[in-house]
């Protein structure tokens, strides 16, 4: 039992980062290369922290406020990003993360500046985190099987094709930004109310790399991709203790290796392999066509 309990902080971290990973996954799934979700998590975290400490609002209200703040800024972020594509979207969203980070540093009387915002009561435990993580997975699965998931896939694969089928690409991606913002804000709030303190640099470049690693390693298409990515990368430094100090370096290495040899991530690669094998078994002539083609 003691050993199990000692893994609890790790499990909490896993659940929070799972939420962060899905807030990243949902924009990538819709073909938007935004990493703005990290900034939105910061907004959610500070909103929840300030409302709890300064105004004494109860947990459900602060969580809702954090999530809605993420949603609101996610919606705003969608407007300039809708005009950009690919790497330009990524750069603009990185700028957004920097803006939030700087704002939290400079607005010292509200956010506590570089010292961070501390004295937050720990209102969120493993149970709450688990409920929200499971809820998030359920919503991701529901979206996957709905018109929204189909529209996301179409816009990501080929925007011109999607548009020729009557899909409004900008609106579809805006919906992805809003869902991403809601998740980022919510799990940012959970993080703040779980860890006693928040500080601006916590939501910076380091977290961007960590979250991207989860989604790139696990996969960007299947709902199970981020889950596998987070589980592996959180477990890895624990399995081999010496690796823990070099965590971010290992993540970087894994990113480079995976992009080269498994560009679609673990889960998506396995899913594609299985689909191909099944279709070959069902349709021997397809194989001939492939060989010929």
């Amino acid at each position: 039992m003691d050993t199990l309990l000692s893994f609890r902080p790790l499990f909490d971290l896993f659940l929070i980062h799972l939420g962060f990973a899905y807030s990243q996954y949902i924009v990538l799934r819709a073909g938007a290369f935004s990493i703005g979700n990290v900034g939105l998590s910061a907004i959610g975290a500070y909103t929840a922290a300030i409302l709890t400490v300064n105004y004494g609002l109860p947990l459900p209200v602060t969580l809702l406020a954090g999530a809605l703040a993420g949603l609101a800024f996610g919606t705003l972020l969608a407007i300039p990003l809708a005009r950009l594509r690919g790497v330009y979207q990524a750069i603009a969203s990185l700028a957004f993360v920097q803006i939030v980070l700087s704002a939290n540093l400079y607005a010292e009387n509200v956010t506590g500046g570089a010292m961070g915002f501390s004295g937050i009561p720990k209102l969120v435990g493993t149970g709450t985190l688990l409920v929200f993580a499971l809820g998030t997975i359920y919503v991701m699965l529901a979206i996957s099987r709905s018109r929204l998931g189909r529209a996301f896939d179409a816009v990501r694969e080929d925007e011109g094709m999607a548009v020729s089928l009557g899909i409004n690409a900008a609106r579809t991606q805006a919906i992805a930004y809003m869902i991403s913002g809601l998740l980022a804000g919510l799990f940012g709030s959970l993080e703040a109310l779980h860890s006693y303190a928040v500080e601006p640099n916590q939501f910076g470049f380091h977290l961007i790399i960590v979250i991207l690693s989860y989604v790139v390693l696990g996969g960007r298409r299947s709902v199970w991709g981020p889950l596998v990515g987070v589980a592996l990368l959180i477990a890895l430094p624990e399995i081999s203790r010496p690796l823990a100090d070099a965590r971010i370096m290992i993540y970087g290495l894994i990113l480079m290796v995976v992009m080269n040899f498994m560009p679609r991530g673990i889960v998506d690669t396995l899913v594609a392999r299985r689909a191909r094998r099944r279709s070959r078994a069902a349709n021997p002539e397809v194989r001939q066509a492939e060989v010929k083609g």
């Binding site: 359920y138 529209a151 896939d153 089928l165 279709s279 066509a289």
Partner: protein, 252 residues
């Protein structure tokens, strides 16, 4: 009836005129052909009609409404379906998924229902799956439903594009070289489906290189060369037209 009418459609990219004062009519219930040598501007014209490119001048009327300035997704929702000359599919997704996306403009369940997986969203998903399977059956591809679209032979990929376009239930279908890469048997089979669609009251604009296919299928043919219409009429008249022969084979 939803006819498509082009009035003096003009497009230039800088000094290059890609579409020169083109006027034509694609009536409902008919198969209209558009032929011309490579580089004649056929695909450019399709892109102008569907809103993928903007017109320099002229008008595109669809069912009496001026759609010249509408963005492509609104044109599609107005009832225009198309296939692409260079096949554009979600290659790793299943054939079924590729066809299902075509139903997008008819999906009615709310965004909240989709996000929360409410029964209305699940019912719609099941219904569309059925409708997509029915389309696959019509094209003789029910056995390929779960195959990744990219693993199919070229001719089959074209069929998937056509099923996807049909799933939008368009009033006008623009087919950009639909039987390229198919043998005569497959082409004939598709021709029969096109005829059925026209008989149902849809307007069809067929871009094709295969002259035999055009002659068998089209009621009326337009010939494009260098962005300009050089001839129109029944397929028989058009192939006998000296200007058309010159455009295709060069001068004597």
């Amino acid at each position: 009836m939803t006819d498509l009418v082009l009035e003096n459609v003009h497009k230039n990219f800088g000094g290059v005129v890609a579409s020169n004062d083109v006027s034509m009519r694609v009536p409902a219930g008919r198969i209209t052909g558009l032929i011309g040598p490579n580089g004649a501007g056929k695909t450019t014209l399709i892109n102008l009609i569907t809103g993928m490119l903007s017109l320099s001048s002229g008008k595109v009327l669809f069912g009496g409404h001026d759609i010249s300035a509408e963005p492509a997704d609104r044109v599609a929702r107005a009832g225009m379906g198309r296939t692409f000359q260079n096949i554009r599919l979600q290659k790793e997704a299943s054939v079924l998924a590729n066809v299902m996306i075509g139903f997008h403009r008819h999906e009615t369940c709310s965004l909240i229902a989709a996000i929360l997986g409410l029964p209305s969203s699940r019912r719609e998903d099941a219904l569309l799956r059925q409708k997509a399977m029915a389309l696959l059956g019509r094209f003789g591809m029910a056995g390929d439903a779960d195959s990744p679209a990219g693993s199919l032979a070229y001719g089959h990929q074209r069929k998937v594009e056509m099923m996807r376009a049909l799933a939008t239930d368009p009033d006008l279908i623009l087919l950009d070289e639909p039987v390229a890469g198919m043998n005569d048997v497959e082409a004939l089979q598709l021709g029969r489906i096109f005829r059925e669609l026209a008989d149902e009251g849809k307007a069809i604009l067929l871009i094709e290189h295969n002259m035999r296919f055009v002659q068998e299928l089209c009621d009326h043919v337009y010939v494009l060369d260098g962005g300009r219409l050089i001839a129109e009429g029944t397929p028989r008249d058009v192939v006998a037209d000296p200007a058309v022969i010159t455009a295709y084979l060069g001068e004597e």
